[in-house]
């Protein structure tokens, strides 16, 4: 479509907009608000509600401004200047309210309802309708999260269009016709979409309501704060609504550069964790038991242990950027160690180095405008849901989408999947690279041809599964470079990219500068002072060192090595054998028996700061309420610990941290060199069956605690997904029980048999209720596995 500017007048005011612009959008630019219900800027025009009538000179009938595109010299009159339009809009509002129950005083939407607001602003003021109103049974639970009130519904079809056009999860549909038309769902089906909450937010009336928010608050009782969702690295713009010090609701904010107008249900509904009774909000120190103490006391005690001692630091995925920077500096310059790591799995290649050194190699916009997208080792819907929606948007705009993964993802309806066993991604990528020259007609050749044709409009998105093999991400990067595609190594957790950039990493300093490179280390030392030149240990190395009594202090920041890392047995030994264990976070959980000191950290909704998206884009976190109890933002604790050790990090405020970090984090060129930088050798061809695991969007993760309805809606029972060929060979039936045995342990779970995983691969979701899969792992997130049919387990065996 040509984007030539078009000049027209609206209510006599001239405006120039790109060709193809809808009249309603052009009017918005002039600040003229035309009432509307079905129109939504991120959905295709529908023209259904008929509220946005305008008059166009030379046209006999009124037209809907949400479906009419601008034309040169068009003269538009809205309700501002046209009595006819004013009357038509008032009449339409009268129609919309005929059957509306007008139960505003008990409706969640009351006070922030487009129907209420627009009826007040543009409506007739009173109704002439005296007939009985249409009634329906209500509310109808579409899922544990979403309730439907058909009497309030104005049938704008925003919700059904969202499910059709945006998420592709077509669970709801309009049914029947005329005055009996209603939103419906198949009997016995749940609205099981991880994006279902968006339909509630875009509902222009109170027809769709969220179970966790029903009857909880009136909008004028809320204090709202704009912030960023910290559940994953998507970086969605959100609004956090607090009532009497409690978060009661999270909404998506519009941001065309990141999340358009959407967030996932986890971001929307998982906000209760910081208010759980298990939360610890005072510093604790072990005397006879763990006992409350002041920060000064606890930090003093920790400092005494650290002074001169060997410290290893493990970090989870939820640190803000400023926390990560302060920690990185604390470790190197005060604690004198490079033994710190935020990663759950090893990357260590050039792809990781680039991710540390160069932000924004791929942006959401690049994805949206791509002609071809290759997703490797990433289940975008489950791991970065908003990136998933952007990939879908690109596909709808014509991009060809390919997914190279061990398991089918929710892109299957508009992309081609190449299922490869976990660990074999590098081989498949090599075949694609070979097909660039050799051609052919297999899936690899199709991917190669599409990428080559797209050239710089090709995007390669590499995900966490590639971390299992040190070279896989680098092979993907090499492929991208070969065709001139954009490449990103996509971090999953909100703190991952920021921690990597800041050098919460055993061998990388801020900006991806290598500890072992004297020049690069020198650049950081010029700001920080001396840094140990020895490379540090990675996460598993730190655990091994602690287990081997080589560490005096094990410092765990927002991480639970028993749950989060793939070797709980090692983690238990490490915790038992560490000289002194410091826990910093929201709660102690199962770590309580091992803790010698606890430092209470503020939750994401309780503090200011920044998080970095998978793209490398910094996003603001803003405190929606004060930290509970004595808890504090992590960076303040790090600064306090440095002080207790007699050091001044020079990082007295967020501004000071950003000012110091900025030059070190400026994008850097990274020398091109071979992947030999990685510690491990080339990937091995694997013959045995492999179990692989990764967390699904909704699982038993700590930040999901308390999100009861969300879990009821989306959490799955543990299962083992097995390819039909394997299942037949083993005599395992779909829905039957299967024993999964690895070198670390065994479990009995239900089998899901199909063609949704690669042959030879068995998928078990990471952290489902009753099955801590970590107990089956032996140091990595893939492990050789033996399967056999099993009898239905007794209750305690499943648990």
């Amino acid at each position: 479509m040509s984007r030539e500017p078009v000049t027209l007048t609206i209510d006599g005011r001239e405006i120039t907009v790109p060709a193809g612009t809808l009249v309603i959008r052009a009017a918005e630019r002039l600040g003229i608000e035309i009432p509307r219900f079905c129109d939504h800027p991120f959905l295709a025009p529908a023209g259904a509600c008929r509220q946005c009538y305008v008059e166009i000179e030379g046209q006999a009938k009124l037209v809907t401004s949400c479906t009419t595109r601008v034309a040169p010299d068009m003269a538009v009159r809205t309700q501002v200047t046209s009595e006819l339009v004013r009357r038509a809009q008032a009449a339409n509002l009268e129609f919309l309210l005929l059957n509306h129950p007008l139960d505003c005083p008990v409706c969640d939407r009351g006070g922030e309802c487009p129907l209420q607001d627009q009826a007040l602003a543009f409506g007739p003021g009173e109704s002439r309708y005296i007939e009985p109103k249409r009634t329906y049974r209500k509310p109808i639970p579409l899922s544990p999260l979403v309730n439907l009130d058909r009497e309030r519904c104005v049938l704008c079809a925003r919700c059904t269009r969202f499910c059709d056009e945006i998420s592709g999860d077509r669970f709801i549909e309009l049914y029947d016709r005329g005055a009996g038309e209603r939103v419906s769902i198949a009997a016995g089906e749940d609205f099981r979409s991880p994006f279902s909450g968006n339909t509630i937010q875009i509902c222009p009336v109170g027809a769709l309501t969220a179970t966790p928010y029903r009857f909880v608050a009136r909008p004028f009782d809320l204090s709202s704060t704009d912030s960023t969702c910290a559940h994953c690295a998507a970086g969605c713009a959100i609004r956090v609504d607090v009532r009497r010090g409690k978060v009661v609701r999270v909404l998506a904010r519009d941001d065309v550069e990141v999340n358009d107008a959407w967030i996932c249900d986890k971001g929307r509904f998982a906000f209760a964790a910081p208010d759980r009774p298990e939360r610890v909000t005072t510093p604790l120190v072990r005397a006879r038991g763990l006992e409350p103490a002041s920060f000064q006391e606890v930090l003093g005690e920790i400092a005494a242990r650290c002074r001169g001692g060997r410290v290893g630091i493990l970090v989870g995925g939820r640190l803000a950027d400023e926390d990560a920077y302060a920690l990185s500096k604390l470790a190197r310059t005060v604690l004198g160690t490079n033994d710190l790591d935020h990663r759950r799995a090893f990357h260590g290649g050039r792809a990781e180095l680039l991710a540390a050194a160069r932000p924004m190699s791929v942006t959401y916009r690049d994805v949206e405008e791509a002609a071809a997208i290759l997703v490797v080792g990433l289940d975008a819907e489950q791991e970065l849901p908003i990136l998933h929606l952007r990939i879908r948007k690109a596909a709808r705009r014509g991009a060809r989408v390919f997914v190279l993964h061990a398991r089918r993802t929710r892109l299957h309806d508009l992309g081609e999947h190449l299922l490869v066993r976990p660990g074999h991604e590098a081989f498949a990528l090599e075949r694609i690279r070979e097909a660039l020259a050799a051609g052919g007609d297999g899936p690899e050749a199709r991917i190669a041809a599409a990428l080559a044709e797209a050239g710089e409009r090709a995007v390669v998105l590499a995900g966490p599964r590639l971390a299992e093999h040190p070279l896989a991400a680098d092979v993907a990067l090499g492929l991208a470079e070969r065709v001139g595609a954009r490449f990103a190594l996509c971090a999953r957790r909100a703190g991952d990219r920021g921690a990597l950039r800041a050098g919460v990493h055993p061998t990388l300093l801020p900006g991806g500068r290598r500890v072992t490179d004297d020049v690069e280390r020198g650049q950081v030392e010029a700001v920080w002072g001396p840094i140990p030149a020895e490379p540090g240990r990675d996460a598993m190395g730190i655990l091994r060192a602690a287990a081997g009594r080589e560490l005096d202090v094990l410092y765990l920041v927002g991480v639970d090595p028993l749950r989060d890392l793939p070797d709980p047995a090692l983690a238990r030994r490490a915790l038992a054998n560490a000289g002194y264990t410091v826990i910093q976070g929201l709660e102690l959980g199962e770590l309580e028996p091992y803790a010698d000191a606890f430092l209470p950290a503020a939750a994401a909704a309780e503090r200011d700061g920044r998080v970095t998206t998978w793209e490398g884009r910094p996003r603001p976190l803003r405190a929606a309420r004060a930290p509970l109890g004595l808890s504090r933002p992590d960076w303040e604790i790090f600064v306090g610990l440095a002080e207790a050790l007699g050091a001044d990090l020079g990082l007295g405020s967020l501004e000071a941290i950003r000012a110091e970090a900025e030059p070190l984090l400026a994008p850097r060129e990274v020398p091109v060199r071979s992947s030999a930088w990685g510690a491990a050798g080339p990937p091995q061809w694997i013959e045995e069956r492999v179990l692989f695991t990764y967390p699904l969007l909704v699982d038993e993760g700590r930040l999901l605690e308390g999100a009861t309805e969300l879990k009821a809606a989306l959490e799955e029972e543990p299962f083992a997904e097995i390819h039909r060929e394997d299942a037949e060979a083993l005599g395992v039936a779909d829905g039957g029980w299967v024993r999964v045995r690895t070198s670390a342990g065994d479990a009995v779970v239900r089998a899901r048999v199909g063609e949704t995983v690669a042959p030879g691969a068995v998928f078990v979701p990471f952290n489902q209720p009753g099955l801590p899969v970590a107990e089956l792992l032996a140091g990595r997130f893939t492990v050789g596995v033996h399967l056999e049919p099993a009898a239905e387990p007794a209750a305690e065996e499943v648990a």
Partner: protein
């Protein structure tokens, strides 16, 4: 009966033209043969020159419609025959198909050749079980005899025709809703533009023509455009099959030249008003066209003249009401049809037809209020041309014309609190109040929104 030229109903009553051989014996498929000997552009030019206008209601020139189809999009083109005839009062398509099914197939084949289409669809109204079966048989014959298939009549032109049965929704006669339904989606209209000629079925260029329109095409090809223009009026050439029903002596389909006065249709062909009673009202083109009265007996039945008289020729479905008919009841039934058939997509149609229907129920049952007539008169302009598609305009027509011509009947219903024709109503206690629950007496006054919204 003064017989004018009959074109597409010439063989009605002769059952021998139903099978393929009989149809060929009376000249069938000669038009297609002629067309195949011409270039597609010449075929379009011929149809354009004939001035044939769509008989489905809108009267758009058929040849012009065909010429809109682009041939350079790289997409296939489609012909869709609209056989969803559902407008109350309309029944000529059904009889055209039942009595001479190959005639419409020939029209389809010519249209497909003209726009270089290899795939055509017939969207058959779901309730048309028998006509659908007749078509099915005719299609089989057409394939057997090489009229359809890989080589149409031995030429290089390929054509397949798919018979699709609808599921019983009036709205699917609207062309964009028909396309949605044909694609397997909900039968709801789509935004235009893009028009079907550019992006129709499966987003490809598509021509949609009514059965009656397509029936004329073989004859135009056989006899030439100038023959066709010699019949009817200058701007509405040819004949029209008028379906006349209601209070007449001989209801049925009558093919007459465009421009024939209504009086001729009624008195000479349909045998006059039933029982010699006085004419009260008639629709010129189905229930969606504004009603006319006895004053309009001499209106010529062509697109322009009917429009001048304040209505539309529409599908040429004439429904006749006499002096014993209650116009409130007539309007109420027509509106109820549209309320029932409204697809629900747009607000004014979904809610407006419901509201008007409710008010009319009440008036007819003797529960009308004096303010109901000003209310209806105010709703008419609020609904007319405000819907997503023309269905709503059709629903408003009987209300507007009923109030225009017969307001005193509405007033009598309200004053007497009963229907003057049946005697039933609240005054006599005979009529039940309209269900569900009756409006309270006195009816609650309008509630100011400000009170409700606070």
């Amino acid at each position: 009966m003064s017989d004018g030229p009959r074109i597409i109903t010439a063989h009605w009553g002769d059952e021998r033209v139903i099978p393929y051989e009989g149809y060929v014996r009376v000249g069938g498929y000669e038009g297609l043969r002629r067309a195949l000997a011409m270039s597609p552009e010449e075929v379009i030019a011929e149809v354009k020159a004939s001035g044939l206008r769509g008989r489905g209601g809108a009267g758009f020139p058929t040849g012009v419609k065909w010429s809109f189809v682009p041939q350079d999009t790289g997409k296939p083109t489609y012909v869709v025959c609209n056989f969803d005839e559902s407008e109350p009062g309309t029944f000529n398509n059904r009889e055209l198909v039942e009595r001479e099914p190959h005639q419409v197939l020939e029209g389809i084949a010519i249209a497909a050749y003209a726009i270089r289409s290899n795939l055509a669809f017939i969207y058959c109204r779901g309730e048309f079980l028998w006509p659908g079966s007749v078509l099915r048989r005719a299609l089989e014959e057409a394939y057997e005899h090489g009229v359809l298939g890989e080589r149409v009549l031995g030429t290089d032109h390929r054509l397949d025709v798919v018979l699709h049965r609808g599921a019983g929704a009036y709205i699917c006669g609207e062309e964009t809703a028909l396309l949605s339904s044909l694609e397997g989606y909900r039968g709801q209209p789509r935004q235009r533009p893009p028009f079907p000629a550019i992006e129709g079925l499966y987003a490809s260029p598509t021509v949609i023509n009514n059965v009656e329109t397509l029936c004329f095409v073989p004859h135009i090809l056989r006899n030439g455009a100038s023959w066709f223009t010699s019949i009817g009026t200058e701007r509405s050439p040819g004949t029209k099959v008028f379906s006349i029903s209601g209070k007449v002596e001989r209801p049925g389909n009558y093919e007459l030249p465009m421009g024939t006065p209504f009086r001729v249709l009624l008195e000479e062909h349909a045998g006059g008003v039933l029982g010699g009673r006085a004419l009260k009202a008639w629709t010129p083109g189905g229930s969606s066209t504004p009603m006319l009265t006895a004053e309009h007996l001499d209106v010529a039945l062509d697109f322009e003249s009917v429009q001048q008289a304040g209505s539309m020729l529409g599908t040429g479905a004439v429904m006749v009401m006499d002096e014993t008919d209650c116009m409130v009841e007539a309007v109420r039934r027509m509106v109820r049809f549209y309320a029932h058939e409204s697809c629900g997509k747009c607000t004014p149609c979904r809610e407006g037809t419901w509201w008007v229907s409710r008010v009319l129920d009440r008036i007819e049952a003797g529960y009308g209020r004096p303010e109901d007539l000003p209310l209806l008169e105010d709703l008419v302009p609020n609904l007319l041309f405000r819907g997503f598609c023309p269905l709503l305009d059709g629903a408003v027509s009987p209300v507007a014309s009923g109030l225009r011509h017969f307001r005193e009947e509405f007033e009598r219903h309200i004053e007497e609190r009963r229907c003057p024709f049946t005697g039933r109503g609240s005054a006599t206690g005979v009529a039940e109040p309209p269900a569900p629950p009756a409006p309270q007496e006195p009816a609650p006054g309008p509630v100011p929104l400000s009170e409700v919204l606070g």
